[in-house]
């Protein structure tokens, strides 16, 4: 990179820009206000000839920073990408030409400001180069030796990766090894299949790339992707190894609390057993204590409130078990008691097979169980009470509780609060895009980072859903505690629809029943994906690149420790636990754990955290670059910080739809609302902006923030801005935060319009003109 900053600015006239904006005036603004190396205009810079113009300037050393004033940065990204020159985009098209009155004074002012902001950005940005290489190992650690763990290991090994599998017990194969028959996963989707777990175990044991350690747990995990130092406790003796990434496949266990199942007689009535115990009976030829079991009732509980670990897996297993009984003894009598029979997908064929074989399915709710065993049920189809007596056995399909902790270990002393559920599916449904309530923000973010050594304040702990018992699976030696954060009911997950493998601990991926309830076959496929994510993380980190969601990003936060006050806000607020503290209490970044959201930057009160291409200073200068009209012109200016993942695209789409946006708005896209520092808000007000709006994703329960907590943290911070405003003698209504979704291309226009009106009503900022 050349020492001297040479900015080339390219004003595009295509797509209606020249029709809407006075380009001569715009060029005049640039040349009169800025020292640029070159300023050029073209009818379409995205055309081959247009791109060539810019390329030539870069090649000739005319420009080492390129400002393309044309369309949104969300389009033509591949074309406006120049080797050796950081490129900044000024959005003249979607934001102005397509949303503003053509050739209007305000339109031209809007365009000039967008160009000024881009020039300020260009002066304060550089192409990031990536952090130092941290990769010490490209091996994969798999924790858990059940079907999911073994498959993850085998699939990774088949792709050339070395793997170590750590299994808690002395035997590989987990639960599945105990099942005598499995659900078919291939056509004709009927007919139970043999258990092939022994073959899987053998394939793992025979694979030269896989090392298996049984009777072992992970005692400690330090470091970061590419360099996880893992201490494996192998029956008391410790062994340390280094890994590039980790797959957690610790599976499930019977619910710790079995009392909800007592109403079916489980643990109370002889002859009532769990589905798990029934597998032993099935393996023994449907015999128990030498006695053939001929009449069996299989109960599928499904009320999720009482039995939080119930799932659709239970129904399919119940059908499988019923078929297995009939296959062994065609004269048997099997009742399956269900509410809604969840035989989804191809399991419908299995359901059909069970019916063909004479299994009796009853839509019935069990009221009580008595000795015999016998069951009293409400048969919902007959509309009457039905008693099932003379049963040889009652089988209760208990739930699958995820092993997101190791129940054999004592609760971790520190950081256990991080296991609190932060997503509760029982909150009332709001589907209209409006905020669900004020409580979310307060619950979602720690309010006081000064609390000595307290980890994250457990403000988001739901007293009805206390942290899960047990010790940490990986015992992460992270400042934010040893656990991998969980979602509702203890499943380790963070974006379970779009990005199912992501956790809030970088380089650590989960699969199998610890992620969501699933059958052995589903775990098999699930594990294959987790293996890929592990390999991918290592590859990305090798190039110092970010993992999801800013995949490939080379930028990373740089900490200026000289003015750091050791306030710890960054280490506490990082949604991914990427920052630790060194012995002196200063923040210490583990670069490959970082997702580059900038939440640390937004947290830092002394503005000493910055990225090469995104910094407090850069945005402050962009804010300052906006021209504040003379107060007598009565033209307010409103600064909008818009999340680039959802709010900003929604704004672009308002443009695509040619919807008029309030002409007094000025927009700065931000990586995440979590990266917005309050300093920017006060900067804007001090510089004469009349209002400030933050636009981010839905927070709290059912959050939609790609960085999980960014928007919640922003709400928390904004809650404190009132004081700042008071100090400035300004009305609190001048600052607002809105939750906006990407589908709000209509709603954003209304929101901006209303806020604009509100600001006009309050009147101009008294600081304007000072």
């Amino acid at each position: 990179m050349a020492d001297e900053t040479k900015i080339g600015i390219y004003l595009c006239e295509g797509c209606g820009i020249a029709e809407a904006i006075d380009m001569d005036e715009l060029e005049q603004t640039v040349s009169s206000e800025y020292q640029v190396s070159t300023c050029k205009r073209h009818a379409a810079f995205c055309s081959e000839e247009g791109v060539a113009v810019i390329e030539k300037d870069v090649k000739d050393g005319e420009a080492n920073r390129v400002v393309v004033a044309a369309c949104s940065h969300r389009v033509m990204t591949d074309r406006f990408n120049f080797d050796g020159a950081a490129t900044v985009r000024a959005n003249l098209r979607e934001q102005i030409a397509w949303t503003q009155a053509p050739q209007d004074e305000d339109t031209n002012m809007f365009a000039a400001d967008n160009v000024r902001m881009a020039l300020a950005q260009a002066r304060n940005t550089d192409n990031p180069e990536g952090h130092e290489n941290v990769v010490k190992s490209e091996k994969l650690l798999v924790v858990g030796g059940g079907v999911a763990g073994l498959t993850a290991a085998l699939e990774a090994a088949r792709a050339g990766t070395e793997v170590t599998v750590v299994e808690k017990t002395g035997q590989l194969g987990g639960w599945t090894r105990k099942w005598s028959r499995l659900i078919p996963s291939r056509p004709p989707y009927r007919g139970l299949i043999a258990n092939n777990t022994e073959e899987l175990i053998k394939a793992v044991e025979d694979n030269g790339k896989i090392k298996v350690v049984t009777n072992a747990i992970v005692a400690r995990t330090e470091g970061m992707p590419g360099d996880f130092t893992v201490t494996i406790d192998h029956g008391g003796s410790e062994e340390t190894d280094t890994f590039g990434a980790i797959v957690v496949a610790t599976g499930w266990r019977m619910p710790d609390d079995m009392t909800p199942y007592e109403k079916y007689g489980l643990g109370k009535v002889d002859g009532v057993m769990s589905g798990v115990d029934f597998e032993e009976v099935l393996a023994a030829g449907v015999e128990k204590d030498g006695k053939k079991l001929n009449t069996i009732a299989i109960v599928i509980p499904c009320e999720s409130e009482q039995m939080p670990y119930t799932s659709g897996v239970a129904d399919r297993i119940a059908i499988k078990q019923a078929i297995q009984v009939m296959d062994t003894n065609p004269d048997a009598m099997v009742y399956v008691l269900h509410d809604n029979l969840r035989a989804h997908g191809q399991a419908e064929e299995l359901y059909r097979e069970a019916q063909d074989k004479g299994v009796v399915f009853m839509k019935a709710m069990v009221k009580s169980a008595a000795a015999g065993p016998e069951l009293t049920t409400d048969d919902l189809l007959l509309g009457q009470e039905v008693r099932l007596s003379g049963l040889d056995a009652v089988v209760v399909m208990t739930g699958m509780m995820p092993n997101s902790t190791n129940p054999d270990l004592p609760k971790a002393e520190k950081g256990n609060e991080f296991l609190c559920d932060d997503v509760n599916p029982r909150v009332p449904i709001t589907v209209n895009g409006e905020d669900a309530g004020d409580g979310d923000a307060a619950r979602a973010a720690p309010s006081d980072a000064d609390d000595e050594g307290a980890g994250v304040a457990p403000a988001d702990c739901d007293p009805e859903n206390p942290p899960l018992p047990g010790g940490a699976l990986l015992n992460l030696q992270y400042r934010q505690g040893p656990h991998i954060p969980i979602l509702y009911n203890g499943f380790i997950d963070s974006h379970y629809i779009c990005f199912p493998y992501e956790t809030r601990r970088t380089g650590i991926y989960v699969c199998g029943a610890v992620r969501k309830p699933m059958t052995a076959h589903e775990a098999d496929n699930d594990a294959t994906g987790a293996a890929l994510k592990g390999i991918q993380a290592i590859n990305l980190v090798k190039e110092s690149r970010a993992t999801h969601p800013r995949t490939g990003d080379l930028s990373y936060p740089i900490f200026g420790l000289d003015i750091c006050t050791k306030c710890r806000r960054c280490t506490v607020e990082c949604p991914f636990g990427a920052i630790d503290e060194n012995e002196e209490g200063y923040p210490q970044l583990n670069p490959s754990r970082c997702r580059r959201c900038g939440t640390c930057m937004g947290a830092c009160p002394v503005r000493t955290i910055s990225f090469k291409n995104y910094s407090p200073n850069m945005v402050s200068e962009m804010i300052e670059a906006v021209e504040q009209p003379d107060p007598f012109d009565e033209k307010p200016r409103i600064m909008v910080f818009a999340c680039e993942n959802d709010a900003y695209p929604a704004l672009d789409m308002a443009g695509v739809n040619r919807r008029e946006i309030n002409k007094y708005m000025r927009f700065i896209p931000v990586r995440c609302l979590g990266s917005v520092t309050l300093v920017w808000v006060s900067n804007a007000l001090e510089k004469g902006f009349d209002g400030v709006m933050l636009m981010g994703c839905k927070s709290g329960d059912d959050y939609q923030c790609h960085f999980v907590k960014g928007s919640a943290i922003a709400q928390e911070r904004i809650g404190k801005v009132e004081e700042t405003l008071k100090n400035l003698m300004l009305e609190p209504e001048r600052v607002t935060i809105e939750e906006v979704s990407i589908a709000d291309s209509k709603r954003v226009v209304d929101l901006l319009g209303k806020f604009g009106d509100q600001i006009e009503e309050i009147g101009l900022n008294p600081f304007k003109g000072f």
């Binding site: 969300r74 088949r158 999720s304 659709g312 589907v431 994906g529």
Partner: protein
């Protein structure tokens, strides 16, 4: 790789819906070259047309936007739109994919400025809205289209529009000389991510889908509720635009029926619960009746079902309706017998939504070699798992979105193994 390695290390992904986009990105971000082949003018498949996902009520475009950001930054993925794959032949390391390249009449010079749309007078049934509304023949496929490029329907050919459109474009992007042509592509591994289409409801003869605009299917319901759909997000009767307050949701329209789709399509119950929420949210005096066999809330979705169930305005009726037809007043009537109390019913509604099942689109594509299709048309890798063709998403089975993204990730690793992991 040694000389006996695959001829091509490129991974071809057929289908640019959520499963295919995921598979393509996951492979590319692991360092492999990918061709992503989509038959429509833009990526996103079925999910980009959905209003919201269950159970979070979040917008599909939110996750797609992140994926498109990943695509924009990743030169390893080559995206081909308007390429309809017709056959896959060959073997691991050397597949030949045959595709029909459909004319877009717009080349890569398009800037999406919209001038062609302004002058275009021809209107066509909007394919993005399943024909529920009209759209200009020269159009951006939708507001979130990726790539952001216009497409022109062949309907303008030979009309005055043809000249007007060509003249309006200042960027030399309109090319009416484009013709459909057959192209072949080479790849070392193939990921089938061909997705699904709703089961053709006209085949459910007693439900008279074709006889009333107010008897719609579930994907159309998503368009009605979507802010960029034909009604701007208002759930109204397509016949007269009046509010659809009393709505019947008919489960298993095609699914769980050996005469139609023998399997359970997995998503319909939850999608219908979501549809109930759309109606309940829009109208305080809404009345929703869900006709069902079983409410199949898979994985941990039982909670989602229980959440919707508590609303007193929704009623669950266990019954498979015998007949649905337009009544004397034009409103659709649902007739049948309630399974629980054996009572006959005959009730009219503002809107009836058929929860049509998912039929695999792979049915239409000729497959050979190390891949098998089951009787329903789902594509399965060979049993040994050693082939170079794999499947994910609804090409592989009736999956929801979470399973589609999950299986797309898994498919990426299998494909990487096939082309020879580096």
């Amino acid at each position: 790789m040694a000389q006996d390695g695959p001829q091509s290390q490129t991974i071809a992904v057929i289908g640019g819906g959520i499963a295919g986009v995921t598979a393509a990105l996951e492979a590319a971000e692991t360092g492999y070259d990918v061709i992503l082949i989509e038959k429509e003018p833009a990526l996103g498949g079925r999910v980009t047309r959905l209003n919201r996902y269950f159970p979070k009520f979040c917008h599909p475009t939110c996750g797609l936007e992140i994926n498109y950001q990943r695509l924009r930054k990743n030169p390893r993925v080559k995206v081909l739109t308007m390429h309809e794959v017709t056959a896959v032949e060959g073997e691991k390391g050397a597949y030949v994919i045959t595709a029909r390249r459909l004319p877009r009449f717009v080349n890569e010079k398009c800037t999406a400025c919209g001038e062609c749309g302004k002058v275009c007078e021809t209107e066509i049934d909007d394919p993005y809205n399943y024909g529920l509304g009209k759209v200009k023949a020269a159009r951006l496929p939708h507001e979130h289209a990726f790539p952001m490029r216009y497409v022109i329907d062949a309907a303008v050919k030979g009309t005055d529009d043809e000249g007007r459109i060509a003249e309006a474009c200042q960027y030399g992007a309109v090319d009416f000389s484009e013709e459909e042509e057959e192209v072949t592509l080479n790849a070392g591994a193939v990921i089938w991510a061909t997705g699904w289409r709703p089961y053709d409801a006209t085949r459910l003869e007693t439900y008279h889908y074709a006889d009333s605009p107010d008897i719609i299917n579930n994907v159309e319901m998503e368009r009605l509720a979507n802010h960029d759909g034909p009604t701007g997000g208002k759930v109204v009767r397509p016949s007269d635009g009046e509010p659809a307050k009393k709505v019947a949701l008919i489960q298993c329209a095609g699914s769980r029926d050996v005469n139609h789709l023998p399997y359970c399509s997995m998503i319909c119950c939850l999608a219908s619960l979501k549809h109930a929420a759309y109606v309940l949210e829009q109208y305080e005096d809404a009345e929703v009746h869900m006709y069902y066999i079983d409410i199949r809330a898979h994985d941990k979705m039982q909670t989602f079902y229980e959440r919707i169930k508590v609303d007193p305005r929704i009623k669950f009726i266990k019954s498979k309706p015998a007949e649905i037809h337009p009544g004397a007043d034009g409103r659709p009537v649902v007739k049948g017998e309630r399974t629980i109390d054996r009572e006959l019913y005959e009730e009219s509604y503002d809107l009836v939504v058929l929860a049509t099942g998912m039929e695999p689109s792979a049915k239409d594509i000729s497959a050979s070699g190390d891949v098998v299709k089951d009787e329903d048309g789902f594509v399965l890798a060979i049993e040994s798992g050693d082939g170079g063709q794999v499947s994910c998403g609804v090409a592989a089975g009736p999956f929801d979105v979470a399973l589609s993204t999950q299986s797309g990730t898994a498919a990426a690793l299998k494909a990487i193994q096939a082309v020879g992991a580096r």
